[in-house]
Symmetry: C2
Subunit: 213 residues, 2 copies
Amino acid sequence: MARAKKIPSTTVSRLSVYVRALQKLRNEAVVTTSSEKLAEQVGLTAAQIRKDLAYFGQFGVPGRGYYVENLHNELAMILGINRRWEVALAGVGHLGYALLAYNGFKKQGFDVVVAFDKDPAKIGQTWEGVKIYDIAEARHVLPECGAEIGIIAVPAASAQEACDALVAGGLKSILSFAPGRIIVPPDVTVKRVELAMELEWLSYYATNIGERG
Amino acid sequence: MARAKKIPSTTVSRLSVYVRALQKLRNEAVVTTSSEKLAEQVGLTAAQIRKDLAYFGQFGVPGRGYYVENLHNELAMILGINRRWEVALAGVGHLGYALLAYNGFKKQGFDVVVAFDKDPAKIGQTWEGVKIYDIAEARHVLPECGAEIGIIAVPAASAQEACDALVAGGLKSILSFAPGRIIVPPDVTVKRVELAMELEWLSYYATNIGERG
DNA sequence: TATTGTGAAGGAATTCACAGCC
DNA sequence: GGCTGTGAATTCCTTCACAATA
């Protein structure tokens, strides 16, 4: 099933976009679509969509297009989201709490099942049905709760420590909201989301009007 | 000051990273650095850093490197973050509230000064010192409060409506946390952050172990 | 000597364009 | 006729390598 050719990480990111678009079509009971229509829907080019899909196989019917249900299932399987993922959250400050309560994750099959913090006032409590443990206990707690993905929502200064704790607990996939580099063993994947950075990007384009394509 | 050559958007993103690294060095009272040391610090190559900077001018001293303070100021000016930006927030659910209370934005000079929602129970209240207005009032409220950047933190189904309201209020730069495309006039810039998408990216790499570089 | 700034080379991602299939 | 899948062309981005400089 996995192709020999190397897959651009930009392609992987776009698969998520396609899945979301297909979910929408499915909800609207649309049965078939085309690369042209999908492109219009998500704001990319038709050729790009066909190229992206071609990395993984042949899902369309020439002259007809794609079956929404079928393509959705194929892509969900490729992305590994045709299942539930249990997620561990490090840091239940404002951002962490928002993520805990955020519906969008659950809807896509990502369930926060355990949380960690350093604050003694929070440790031992249960928020939104999720129990909060001492981050120092992560190495003991994680192996027992089945979480495979970690989310780091602690201040930058504690990010490395939090990450080390999650890795010690066996996690190999981590999404970090903390600014700055985090060092991990080579078999651990870290994806960073820097919120202030996104605003700075906007600031740049707002400051340098017209530099944009 | 602005160069004639077209600047890759990847370069702009990295400028933020450099600014953050330089801030750290400055806090540690480091006076000079080099492309080599910066590269090590942020996890990129030295050549890339020099290329990125070259789009905007010549900031270094051959044989010596870069003055931390100077380079930081130059980049901050280029990014337009050598000033405060007033930000309007649409949607004060869990995510919106987290963004409202998030320190990271304020630290980098982005101040949420006004918020909007549809929920009558929230309209009129003041959270974290920020007054919440009816989103339908945005076109009247925004011109008076000076906000130039908007953040959309509403559910996907209301995103277009929220965005239209912000644009009607005169905003030209918008950061959206809602999944899906938002249609805006050509002079408005929208940057999207899709949280579930980032998790799906991790899911892919966790599922297809070893496909990674 | 150490390090920048940059032209040239190389690699990656996107777009084009069309043969082939339904 | 309509639309996919894909090699070729193109554009974009990164890395290399070195002349120029303090």
